[in-house]
């Protein structure tokens, strides 16, 4: 009998405890997960809609609402090239972008940002993109968009107990071989040095490709070509599950052409140079590029490696 009554008492107590009683809030302090997957979907849909509009009109103006910084400059440059050369094929017009995954960190202040891994079904690429909201009164904008090959395997991201990304301070190396900023700086230094020089980064496909481009320009007869690389401050870096870091870096590249007296250069039709350097070049010319790179910095041992990049000409002059 006593046992039965105890069961009744305990059941009643549990019933009461399960009701909607006020409870203390979570213990994450003043933080916010930048965006939920549902919010990311809405943001991405708006981005695709505006981008398509800009591509159709070959006008970068609409993009300013949904893109910012170097990625806006790169896309505006591509549109400028297309418009000036009246290319029949508009850049990325047929992109079929589909979100594969959304990762958002828990942040305590603006700017807020989150990462989208998207599949480009038409170009057979994977985009690892960062969307940022600079302040509470601005909209979400694409801030980085490096592209990787489908064969490139991204390292697993480290997530906290609530499924939020773990951001990494760009200036702190922690247990890694170098900090995110140092890794991007090292890439700029490597590309500024001769191919045989000692490098702190991997001799990966990005470095190889950029050196091939530079070598090709140097072979142009009657032209003195020089190239400078600079790293911009790193804003976004996140922890990989193995303790390393994934870094969204931007490299600024400046190509200079000095034409020898009595010579002139005709750029190939459809080239960026032809669009930005107004056809024939007699004296000097400069082209500025941005390259957004996705760098993996390994934990403890190993050299950083570029997993993906997105770049293009953003400005130029010549006469």
């Amino acid at each position: 009998m006593i046992r039965r009554l105890w069961i009744a008492v305990m059941a009643s107590a549990l019933l009461v405890a399960g009701c909607a009683i006020p409870y203390p809030k979570d213990s994450h302090g003043v933080t916010k997960v930048a965006a939920t997957p549902a919010q990311a979907d809405l943001i991405y849909d708006r981005y695709k809609k505006v981008r398509k509009q800009a591509l159709n009109r070959l006008d970068s103006q609409p993009l300013t609402a949904v893109e910012a910084g170097p990625v806006l400059a790169i896309d505006a440059g591509k549109l400028t090239v297309a418009r000036r050369l009246l290319l029949s094929g508009r850049p990325d017009d047929t992109q079929d972008l589909r979100i594969l995954d959304v990762f958002a960190p828990r942040l305590d202040s603006y700017p807020l940002w989150f990462v989208v891994v998207a599949e480009d079904g038409v170009r057979d690429l994977t985009k690892v993109q960062v969307f940022q909201r600079a302040s509470s009164t601005t909209g979400w904008q694409l801030a980085a968009s490096p592209e990787t090959l489908p064969s490139t395997e991204l390292p697993a991201f480290a997530l906290d107990g609530t499924g939020a990304l773990e951001p990494v301070d760009p200036s702190h190396a922690g247990r890694m071989t170098m900090s995110p900023q140092q890794a991007v700086d090292a890439y700029a230094a490597t590309l500024n040095h001769a191919p045989g020089a000692v490098s702190e980064v991997s001799r990966d496909s990005f470095v190889t490709q950029m050196r091939q481009v530079a070598a090709q320009q140097r072979r142009v007869d009657g032209v003195t070509f020089s190239q400078d690389w600079n790293a911009r401050p790193v804003q976004y870096a996140l922890r990989a599950a193995d303790g390393g870091a994934l870094v969204f870096g931007t490299l600024a590249r400046l190509d200079r052409y000095q034409i020898k007296k009595g010579r002139a250069i005709d750029w190939p039709d459809g080239s960026e140079q032809k669009a930005f350097l107004s056809g024939r070049l007699y004296t000097t010319g400069e082209l500025r590029y941005y390259h957004q790179i996705l760098v993996y910095v390994p934990p403890e041992v190993g050299k950083p490696v570029v997993l993906g990049q997105y770049g293009g000409v953003v400005d130029g002059f010549g006469y």
Binding site: M1, I2, V9, S12, C19, A20, P22, K25, T31, T137
Partner: protein, 260 residues
């Protein structure tokens, strides 16, 4: 031991009854209680709560704001990160502490007068409402750091600000009544335990059956029980005593009938 348990159960029952009755009376059948209107003195265009002021989640709160009849007012609830970024550079009155039902401490913070964007143009409000002269907003306190903001829209300030707050607890009245019923049952149970006997003869029979089963199927721990009870009569003794008591009570009556 049983007496002690009985006393404890009755104490718990008294507390549960008080809480249950209090909850039911406080919330009423509409599950809500209101306080106000309370004036808040400020000449700033914004009043906000600091993130640590509202430390609880779960209840639904309805805020009714009254300002000067010609003044447009906005009331909203948002994550503290959004709110801090939005009002961070603006002159405002901050609620630094809050106690139920209505006990406020405030601090004035200097800054510019104009917000960077009208509050109605922002997409991160968890709940919001606006109106001319008054506005009413209902929000379920979320499980994250968040704040409440009252904003004078279109210039002006929040002079004559008055706030009425209503707290709603879904099913609160039912919970109160449930607690009350639970307390009555628990108290009865405690009383039985205190008395050291069952309430009815049927219960006694049940208990006797239980004891019989126990004696047959389980090791006999009657000796231990007796030691625990420290001299108290065991249940079998109680039953015998009850019967003897009942018989004793009947006998004088019978005797009276037999008298001429």
């Amino acid at each position: 031991m049983r007496r002690f348990v009985g006393i404890m159960l009755m104490l718990i029952a008294v507390i549960a009854a008080a809480v249950g009755a209090g909850l039911a009376i406080l919330l009423g059948t509409d599950n809500r209680t209101a306080t106000g209107p309370h004036p808040i003195e400020t000449d700033a265009p914004i009043v906000v709560t600091r993130p640590d002021v509202l430390g609880w989640a779960g209840p639904t709160v309805t805020l009714t704001i009254h300002v000067a009849p010609s003044q447009k007012v906005f009331v909203g609830a948002a994550n503290a990160v959004d709110l801090a970024d939005y009002v961070g550079s603006v002159r405002r009155t901050e609620v630094t502490d809050y106690g139920l039902p209505w006990k406020l401490q405030t601090a004035n913070v200097s800054g510019q007068d104009a917000l960077p964007l009208a509050p109605g143009d922002l997409d991160w409000w968890v709940a919001r409402a606006s109106g001319k002269g008054s506005a009413t907003m209902t929000v379920k306190l979320p499980d994250q750091a968040f704040g409440l903001a009252v904003i004078a829209v279109g210039g002006g300030d929040l002079k004559d600000l008055e706030v009425t707050a209503a707290y709603e607890l879904d099913g609160g009245f039912g919970i109160g009544l449930g607690l009350l019923g639970f307390a009555v049952g628990l108290g009865l149970f405690g009383w039985l335990a205190f008395q050291g006997r069952p309430m009815t003869r049927e219960l006694a029979d049940d208990e006797a059956d239980d004891d019989g089963e126990s004696d047959e199927g389980e090791p006999d721990d009657a000796a231990a029980d007796k030691a625990d009870d420290a001299g108290e009569p065991d249940e079998a003794d109680d039953i015998a005593a009850d019967k003897a008591h009942d018989e004793a009570a009947e006998k004088p009556e019978s005797a009276a009938k037999e008298q001429p």
